[in-house]
Symmetry: C2
Subunit: 355 residues, 2 copies
């Protein structure tokens, strides 16, 4: 039900956004990418073990599409078996018949399904060298602009989600590099703040410039400039919902520098991100831009399955556009989170219990 969607930031703009997309058409796009920063030990749990992490973006979208993965045997999960948030995304999109497209903007592994090819390479480890050379940076923005324009012309509301292991660290670095005093959520309940801050501090030392392009080139990952490019063109044409947490804050901070239409833009996320006390999501976003933030509580704490309850306890709080997808499914079909929880438990059961 619509009143389950909470609005943070500009209340009035949030209400207007909801009104303009209610019961309309939605298109979910998911940008997969990679940063070698995720290879720093203990920085992410977006994968069963260190070897699996690089498969996570490809496996996420394969699961989203087929209901199983092709490049690995099981769906992506944390080392102790908590499933990828793509599970939430899949249930939300399928239950409301929202179509999706996959964009490969530098994933280390190519998913085994049709996707938008960009030719972008994975980002480098930001503690060691610039994430992207300037040619790749310009290409990411340009190709993002092209795809954003095309997709925006096909829908009343373009959702943009991402899957980038280690991406909260590069997002933190970009936000800090652009002058925001950001703290960052992560997929771990005991967010390794110290480790992340050390990584970011090291990377920031190497940046000798205030230039936003240079900042993203040194500290980002290919997803950040790509999605910023998409937002730039898409927000001129239709409504856009950046579906995610801190990583989308970094996108927004960079997009602010290259221009986008604020009145058509929102961020959609889970209440787990909003309530994360180790991060300061809402206050940072308010500093970046006067856009509304839509949040949904997926009520997974009510689940009978521990693997789903884990989300509400801080594991994989967001990702693969989960929060935005749930919000879109409610906006499109006026379903409620009770029904969503029921379908999510059914899917969880199919994946992990029924064998």
């Amino acid at each position: 039900m619509l009143n389950e969607i909470e609005i943070f930031g500009n209340q009035k703009k949030g209400e207007n956004f909801i009104k303009s997309v209610e019961k309309k058409s939605f298109l979910f796009s998911v940008v997969i990418s990679y940063t070698e920063t995720c290879e720093i030990p203990d920085i992410t749990i977006a994968g069963k073990d260190i070897e699996s992490i690089k498969y996570t973006p490809a496996a996420d979208v394969e699961y989203l599409h087929y209901g199983f993965c092709k490049c690995i045997d099981e769906i992506p999960m944390t080392p102790d078996g908590k499933p990828t948030p793509a599970l939430l995304t899949k249930v939300a999109l399928e239950s409301s018949s929202i179509p999706h497209v996959v964009i490969n903007a530098g994933s280390k592994i190519n998913p085994l399904l049709p996707y938008f090819h960009t030719g972008l390479k994975p980002g480098k480890n930001i503690t060691q060298e610039p994430a992207l050379d300037s040619e790749s940076l310009y290409k990411a923005i340009d190709y993002g602009r092209i795809i954003g324009r095309t997709l925006a012309s096909l829908t009343n509301c373009l959702l943009i989600g991402e899957s980038v292991p280690g991406g909260t660290t590069t997002a933190l670095a970009v936000l800090r590099g652009l002058g925001y005093d950001a703290k960052v959520s992560s997929s771990m309940p005991n967010n390794p703040i110290e480790l992340k801050n050390r990584v970011v501090d090291n990377a920031l030392k190497r940046l000798q410039s205030n230039d936003p392009l240079m900042t993203v080139s040194y500290l980002g990952d290919p997803m950040i400039p790509f999605v910023a490019g998409m937002l730039t063109t898409a927000s001129e044409i239709t409504n856009v919902m950046l579906a995610g947490g801190t990583q989308m804050a970094a996108v927004l901070a960079f997009a602010k520098k290259i221009g986008f239409k604020e009145t058509n833009t929102t961020i959609g996320t889970t209440s787990y991100i909003i309530n994360d006390e180790s991060a300061n999501f809402v206050s940072i976003l308010k500093k970046i831009s006067d856009i509304p933030i839509l949040a949904i509580d997926p009520k997974l704490d009510h689940s009978k399955f521990d693997g789903l309850k884990a989300y509400s306890k801080g594991f994989a709080k967001e990702g693969v556009g989960a929060g935005g997808s749930i919000i879109a499914s409610i906006l499109k079909t006026e379903t409620d989170t009770e029904r969503f929880l029921e379908l999510t438990e059914k899917e969880y059961q199919r994946l992990f219990i029924s064998q």
Copy 2:
């Protein structure tokens, strides 16, 4: 104006199709591919010289998107300088704000723009070996089905065009292999019928089966099963216009074997294809399926430029979905071919005269 669109085949169904898409949303998809059959000397003029032919599909879509090519210096043209029909497609789509997506289903050269990646390889020379192995054939159909479903859910009318040098020869082979007594148009005014028939006869000798999958695998190119797959799923969801001539007849003949929804399907092409006496387009189509054929006369014989008049004289009569795009632009905006000719001359002038 709507009355400029001629209907062949089932008149009533043609009128219904027009009514159901008039002033609605359109999406143009263009499938680029390759068959090594085009390397047989003199079989195609879809390129300035033998070395250029393989660049034509990539260059066509680059031109469509950017207004210039990136992989080669000039836009694709025949050896004596007649421009690619993509010129007509570009003018039609841009003048009516119809968005487009590029699908790479086996082009030898990858275009320098974002496109749907499928991982399909170019088709082999059908006089020497099977065009596609069975794994590639199944993948072409499967991936076509996936992309068809996605794109169809985003529009009221999905247009599907193609750019495959040498593709009329593989189309002829598939039609003959499936039991239709087809003759085939080509991009040359003196259609090298004898050469094509010899090539097809040689290829047919190697096919020892009536099975449609085997037929396409031996005699086709990756575009044919791919677009048939797209049609299968897309026609269940929305209106589909196959934009092209004989190659789309081959798609239809194969799609008939794997199933599609006839009531949502039409072929859109230029009157140059309908009037081509070396081919028997309308009568073959009637034998394949009771779908309507929509045709448009782009009136290029009225042009002041010989390079445009050439189309009406039989050069590059169709391709890159030119005919269907012009029809869609009329259906969407109720423009007329007089205005279309004006814009086409302006674009021709920009490309070839204003320097």
